[in-house]
Amino acid sequence: MGLDKSQIAWRAAQDLKNGSVVNLGLGTPVLVSNFVESSRDIFFQSENGILGVGPEATQKAANPDLVDAGSRKVTLIPGASIFDSAASFAMIRGGHVDVTILGAFEVSVSGDLANWDSGAADKAPLVGGAMDLAVSAKTTWVLMQHNTKDNKSRLVKDCSLPLTAKNCVERIYTDIAVIDVTSDGFLARELIPSVSEEELRNRTSGNIKLASDCCVLNAPNITS
């Protein structure tokens, strides 16, 4: 069994540096904030105009005017600020966000990201802030299932779906591994105990190697 979504988010949270500014995408990425203690002074940016998103609001305290980019009613942490959308994307595009953590359909061996258009027939496009974030953040990480439901690799030689941005992903957290995108291809940094190097290769399209110091990927049990 691989990691569940919360465990993938937990693992990514361990790599965030104290004091950094982080934008979380919808889905699994937004769970990352559950695993960051407030003492770490990490500021979550939400592209609708918040720096310093706090925990989701209780139903009682919920204010319909205070939502994050995923339309969750949220709170603010001490030191939070609010601004308009042009200022928010000036912040993002200007490179002032340290880490953006996004979901993805595919990531290529050269770090190309496809996460905005699933190619479903007649469904209209939805890009939101994904392109701005992927192009502009100092670091782009992806959280995703290693494989699709029909067992295709989401790590690929070339993306088959429309690109979000070229050459932007630095690290991928999947349900079975932590993988860096290097000039030499995918490099597994950590692997869960139940998956062998051979299985990892079989489940991955595109060139993948194990780092010489590749560790065991262990995540705690998380009950939500």
Binding site: S46, E47, N48, G49, I50, N63, P64, D65, L66, V67, D68, A69, G70, S71, I82, F83, D84, S85, A86, S88, F89, A90, I92, R93, D117, A120, D122, K123, A124, P125, L126, V127, G128, G129, A130, M131, D132, V135, S136, P162, L163, T164, A165, K166
Partner: protein, 226 residues
Amino acid sequence: MDKRRQSAVKVLKEIKDGSTIMISGFGEAGVPNTLLSQLKDLHPTNLTIVVNSVTRPHSLPHALIEANMVSKVITTSARGRGKGLSKFEEKLREGEVELECLPQGTFSERIRAGGAGIPAFFTPVGYGTKLGEGKETRNIQGKDCVLEEALTGDFALISANKADRFGNVNFSYTQMNFGPIMATACTTTIVEARLLLEEPLPHSHIQLPSVYVDYLIESEETDHGS
């Protein structure tokens, strides 16, 4: 100077068929529902709407499309929720509505440029993607960019918290989103606010200066503080 008006209908009647309308809102925050619901009744047609999202089938921006009032949508988020097609997606498939989908930062910046007198700008966002196709490209300061033009409109419909009779506006939390930039980019700006004040707002509370606002209408929503 008093920009407050009793009747939204009287003001909204200025919106003729074929107008371009910018509509504020992100998620459920800052959507001008009072104005949109009256606009729907007035039923101008052949509108171009500029709005961040039309994903929610029960939202009023989506309702304008369903009511056959809209010929073009400029947005960042067009995909209907769920696997089936939304009414908008059906109209899109039938070619009844035109769509321009933009990265949200490009959407914001093109609107800001429209209000700020910047006819065009280069941005790295969208380069090498389907949304950058057909756009002029150039490498500047080491970055591959696409050229984007300013976006302007005839009417901005904005939701806010408080406004004074001069037209100065204060927003509540993330209600702000696209309101301030859309107000700058349109010939006529109509703001609905929960509280319309006789006395001027203190300068430190003003998030949208009076010069950008033409009419103020009382919103039917309740105050959520700021």
